[in-house]
């Protein structure tokens, strides 16, 4: 009886835990830099992410080589000269929704959230905090956020000759469409 109780308990937790997880494999992360000289835009539509609505934990992972640019040469420079994507192929984020209680996951609607966590780019990890929205829809959750990062914080050096073409602040846009992970 004891053993059965234990088994039920664990099974219960197992299912409960998994039902709380939402996942996507084709989330979007894009960045944008504007200067009078040049606009630079890189888009990645193959970002993988998991959101656990019971704890508010969220993680993303993006392959650097999956960022695409309008100009092939920019893409090469992005990988070769700035991100060193052969050495550091992935960027990741591990964080948490800090105001989880203000989201009602059982009711469709849009909720404002704050996310805090560790962003790793170019093998350098920094704490970031950003405002975003969580939209509960039937059968899924959409999450989006916009924040700025400074390449120098991630030891990405921009040499003097191209300094005027790359903004010191890059605007990063995150858009995720999660589906329930069964």
């Amino acid at each position: 009886m004891k053993r059965l109780f234990l088994l039920l308990f664990f099974l219960n937790i197992f299912f409960a835990v998994n039902a709380q997880k939402y996942m996507t494999k084709n989330g979007f992360i894009g960045f944008f830099s504007h200067t009078p000289m040049e606009d630079i835009k890189g888009d990645n539509n193959q970002v993988a992410g998991v959101l656990d609505i019971s704890t508010g934990d969220m993680v993303f992972q993006a392959l650097i080589k999956s960022f695409h640019f309008d100009r092939a040469l920019m893409e090469e420079h992005f990988n070769e000269n700035y991100m060193e994507s052969d050495k550091f192929p992935k960027s990741s984020f591990k964080g948490k929704i800090t105001n989880l209680s203000s989201v009602n996951f059982s009711k469709n609607g849009t909720y404002d959230v704050t996310v805090e966590g560790d962003l790793t780019i170019h093998d350098v990890t920094n704490k970031i905090s950003s405002k975003g929205t969580v939209e509960v829809v039937s059968g899924g959750i959409n999450a989006s956020s916009k924040f700025n990062i400074v390449p120098e914080d991630y030891k990405i050096n921009i040499p003097g000759v191209v300094r005027e073409k790359i903004n010191k602040n890059l605007e990063v846009t995150v858009k995720m469409k999660y589906e329930n992970l069964h």
Partner: protein, 294 residues
């Protein structure tokens, strides 16, 4: 029973602590490995004189201007060769991911040239492992210099020569790439009957990155035909130089014993010798324009 629930509580602790790492593991389990294609084996479509494995991506136009000055050993009166300049310019364009074309004009023998480069294999790791990149280059050159003897019958076909090359390259690590280039040259008309119409050669080239935007390059072609029977002394071309990359431009500064900048010329018509100081200083400038977003 109390002990049991206590044990259960403790067992929960690690789950709570490593929850985010767990999510990351979950993510990794659910994502399939991708093919990771090697990029930037060389910085430019030329190692020095000869083609590299690199191709212009679709929609990109490469405008190239190259110069080779006179021989350094020509002395101070010729300003060590800089008084003379032999030039070549070309327009090169990527049509498809695996297809690139180019047309050019060189002042040496007033030659027009055109080439097609096909990408057959791309070096990759990850879901598909391919140790080398392989391309095929085919080019044709048209010598438009007036015939020295206008009285005899001169055929148009006599102006043409053809080159076929297989480019096999490997990026060994972040900073070191090598390439082997078996080559065949056919010349419709040669100067004397001592000179072969068909030439066989193999090129070897490499690049070593010194900094993110600067690399040291070298290239050598070994001509397999016996050279001592040819009407003009012909030597194997060796070129050494650097690539400097500045955003949209690539500058290549080099020293070479060959005066011409197209395959049929530097493989078959290099008459300078490094040992004698028959060295030409030269440069290639490549500027890439995006005609079509990709």
């Amino acid at each position: 029973m109390r002990r049991l629930s206590l044990a259960f509580l403790f067992s929960l602790i690690p789950i709570l602590i490593i929850a985010q790492d767990d999510l990351m593991n979950l993510l990794n389990q659910n994502t399939v490995p991708e093919i990771n294609f090697t990029t930037a084996t060389f910085k430019s479509t030329r190692i020095m004189n000869g083609h590299s494995i690199e191709s212009m991506p679709p929609g990109q136009l490469d405008v190239r201007i190259s110069h080779r000055f006179g021989r350094i050993n020509s002395g101070a009166y010729e300003f060590f060769g800089l008084d003379q300049a032999n030039m070549h310019f070309s327009l090169e364009y990527g049509i498809l991911k695996w297809l690139m074309i180019g047309v050019g004009r060189g002042s040496y023998e007033k030659t027009f040239d055109g080439f097609t480069k096909f990408t057959l294999l791309r070096q990759s790791s990850g879901a598909r492992v391919m140790p080398v990149s392989v391309s095929v280059l085919s080019s044709v050159a048209l010598k438009s210099l007036k015939w020295p003897d206008q009285t005899r019958t001169n055929y148009f076909s006599s102006r043409l020569s053809y080159v076929a090359q297989v480019l096999i390259a490997r990026k060994i690590n972040q900073s070191f790439s090598i390439q082997l280039t078996p080559s065949y040259v056919h010349r419709n008309l040669v100067a004397t009957e001592l000179d072969p119409n068909d030439l066989w050669a193999v090129g070897a080239g490499g690049r070593m990155k010194l900094t993110k935007r600067l690399s040291l390059n070298a290239e050598y072609y070994y001509l397999a035909n016996p050279k001592k029977y040819m009407s003009l002394p012909v030597y194997n071309p060796l070129s050494v130089g650097i690539d400097i990359e500045t955003g949209g431009h690539v500058f290549q500064l080099l020293f070479t014993n060959s005066l011409t900048m197209i395959e049929k010329g530097f493989i078959g018509e290099t008459t300078g010798r490094w040992g004698k100081g028959d060295i030409h200083f030269g440069f290639n400038i490549s500027r890439v324009f995006t005609l079509k977003n990709h």
